[in-house]
Amino acid sequence: MKKLLLFAILLFFCGGCTPYQEVNKMAIVDMIGISYQDNNYHLYLSVTSKSKADDSTKSNHKLYHVTGKSLGEAFSNANYLDQKKTFYKQIATVIIDEDIVISQDKMIFSFLKNKFSQINYLLLASSSVDSIMDTFSNHQQIEQFIKEEQIQKGTIAPMTFDEVYAKYLDKEQDAYLFSIHIKGKHLVTDGICLFGKKDKLDSKEAMVFQLLNHQVERLNTSISYHHKTYALALKNLKVSNVYQDNKIKVKIIGVVSSDDTFQEEVIDTLKEILKQDIYTFITKRQKDKQLMTPYLNMIYLKERNRRKALDIFYQIPIDIQIDFRKESA
């Protein structure tokens, strides 16, 4: 009994040592935006909450804007919002000005890693962050946009901070982030930013990059054939990258469907266009000696190690086979 009493007293003394905070006394941030303008870091915080109204609950979002000479100072200024302690551990999306990441990637990544334990999506903004945050204060809208774009165009994919950070730390890989900008009231994908190499892929290249990287299972596209435009849906896309007969063989299979009636020739045209896009992408990347896709790079690295030749990296020919079939009714 004495031991228990001692334990209880110790418990009371230790009580103050822990970071205790009631959930209703916290400003829960679900999305933040970071930009740098006029020698100041600008921090945009979307605070989310729910309020009870009669028998239903309503979601509320409020955007806060703080500035600081350094990122640390900006976050320090945002310690309390409306007299509530700011809570960052439920952050779902972080949107950062593309220029900051390109110029200060080391600082940004170490800061984010230390500051946040959980970020679902990390995105770059090629246009002003404040206008994106103003228009889309809810992270769910951004996530919805990413999912739709992934299905429709294949130019973007959900990528968590941990995935990006793992690539960033891996010296054998080039880390990249998806870039978005705002056009009117709509978000638009802007390609892929290879911030380590200060390089960028446009939207079309991003789609090819994603496709070769096994990240696209379906995409919607449209092609013109004999003065008629066909809206086509590519489904069940599967890509294999194999090194065989001193070549990298890329094989793409899938099913094509459309609400319009179309002939096999339309599929052939689609294959040709896609093949051309892929060749253009690969030729350009080989020429610039830049990252192709993590999958292709793995094959290159393996072959380079086998042949013990550094210059082999961008000289292996690539053979592309596309096998699309029409979806049966």
Binding site: P19, Y20, Q21, E22, I28, D30, T48, K52, K89
Partner: protein, 473 residues
């Protein structure tokens, strides 16, 4: 007669002590009985009526009384202390000379019959339960085990109450050292009175046990009989409708006797639910407190926002809120048990519905806290053992404090305390956590997951050397 004077003096001339003198053939015979403990009807009908028909003289009085009065438990008493004892047991004493009497059993029927076991409800099994009569209770067990190997050793405990206490076991199954240990422990009891088996229980528990109960009480004869067949010892205490079973393991508290009367597949599921209820009863309020005060990143955002919205108007911390609800529930439960049945469901309605709803409307507690505490409290009711429910309550409060101070880490620490307590608890010096620690392969089939009854053919080797229960058909 000096003997009669001594008896009267010993009982302080109690008004319920009846002393009546008869003169038969110039011999004085004095009837001494307790008015309340002995049946006057029986005495009039079968002793006095017969007595008047007998003819004897001073030389053969003892022989005549002993042989012609109708009683199979008749005793000749030769000391005054024996006489006191027999009067208190409800015997009628016929004192025929100084320090000499014939005791005839004439106990009044003070029983309430064989009741239904209220606290251990049976779905499929027998409905009868123990009552306050020692003989009835032993009889209910013997009716189930009709074997000469089922032994009963009796002793009287309590200097003033002289409560009859029986130790039941099956010879050849129960370990002799366990029987001796129980006997020695009971013989050492030195107290003025034993009013219920609960008194005895305190002596039988190992002194180092703190949290978990290690003596099982039951009001069901089939459970007691089953315990005997497993090699356990059953202790029957007069005036108590609960018999004690020792040794008992932690897993026994997750079992009911009904488990053996139903399909094993269904019972395995029910036992899993009971185990889940055990964890829920202890941990749910603590996890809620930890998640809303320390580990807010451990739950999905939407749920966190719901918790936050529900707590907006609550002025107290989560712990105070949880304590308020838990203590209110305990008060309600206690008043519900103690209140007269005539008050019906008034307390339940007032406490459960009106106060609960009003407290939420007034913003004293959040609706989610009512859900959390209710789940925890209801889970605690999955156990019929009052001691286990009390243990769960203590752990629940302890976990709530640990969660408040240290969050999830506090709960981990608490879990370690629960586990340490389970592993260090002993029941008759046997490990409480068996068959998990030590691992006993034979018993695993009847722990949480239950194999078919016909496959459980072996006894727990910790309890007996005679482990074979039966053979394959």
């Amino acid at each position: 007669m000096k003997t009669i004077e001594d008896i009267k003096a010993a009982f302080g001339n109690s008004s319920d002590l009846i002393v009546r003198e008869f003169f038969i053939n110039d011999i004085t015979i004095t009837l001494v009985q307790s008015e309340v403990l002995a049946s006057s009807e029986f005495i009039n009908q079968f002793i006095l009526k017969k007595l008047t028909t007998l003819s004897f003289h001073q030389q053969n009085v003892e022989e005549i009384l002993f042989n012609f009065l109708p009683d199979n438990t008749m005793s000749v008493l030769t000391s005054i202390s024996e006489m006191y004892d027999y009067i208190c047991k409800g015997f009628a004493l016929l004192v025929y000379e100084e320090n000499k009497a014939i005791a005839i059993e004439a106990k009044a029927n003070l029983d309430r019959g064989i009741p239904i076991a209220d606290n251990e409800t049976s779905i499929r099994g027998s409905k009868d339960g123990f009552n306050e009569n020692f003989n009835t209770n032993v009889g209910l067990i013997r009716r189930r085990i009709r074997s000469e190997n089922c032994h009963l050793d009796s002793l009287y405990l309590g200097k003033e109450t002289r409560t009859k206490t029986g130790i039941m076991y099956i010879k050849g199954i129960t370990e002799e050292k366990n029987i001796q240990k129980v006997k020695k422990t009971l013989e050492k009891i030195n107290i003025d009175g034993i009013l219920d088996s609960g008194y005895v229980k305190a002596y039988l528990e190992d002194k180092d046990n703190f949290f978990f109960p290690s003596i099982l009480s039951t009001e069901r004869p089939d459970k007691a009989a089953q315990a005997l067949l497993e090699g356990k010892i059953v202790i029957v205490v007069d005036n108590s409708p609960y018999v004690l079973i020792t040794p008992t393991f932690f897993i026994d508290y997750l079992h009911t006797t009904d488990d053996y009367y139903q399909r094993s597949f269904n019972i395995s599921f029910i036992r899993l639910i009971r185990f889940l209820a055990f964890l829920t009863a202890i941990f749910v309020p603590a996890i809620y407190i930890a998640c809303t005060t320390h580990n807010k990143d451990a739950i999905p955002l939407n749920l966190l926002l719901d918790f936050s919205a529900q707590r907006q108007s609550v002025p107290f911390s989560a712990l105070i809120e949880a304590l308020f609800m838990s203590i209110s529930f305990e008060i309600l439960r206690e008043s519900d048990i103690r209140k007269p049945a005539s008050m019906g469901s008034a307390v339940s309605i007032l406490g459960g519905l009106i106060l609960g709803d009003a407290a939420v409307s007034a913003g004293i507690i959040s609706p989610i806290m009512i859900i959390v505490i209710s789940i925890s409290a209801i889970s605690g009711m999955a156990f019929s053992s009052v001691e286990m429910v009390s243990t769960l309550r203590i752990f629940r409060f302890m976990m709530m404090f640990l969660a408040m101070f240290f969050g999830i880490f506090g709960i981990y620490a608490g879990m370690m305390i629960v586990l340490a307590s389970l592993t260090t608890t002993k029941t008759l010096s046997l490990p409480y956590l068996a068959p998990f620690s030590p691992f006993i392969k034979n018993e695993i089939g009847d722990s949480i997951i239950k194999t078919k009854n016909k496959k459980v053919r072996k006894r727990n080797p910790l309890l007996t050397k005679n482990i074979i229960r039966g053979k394959d058909i």
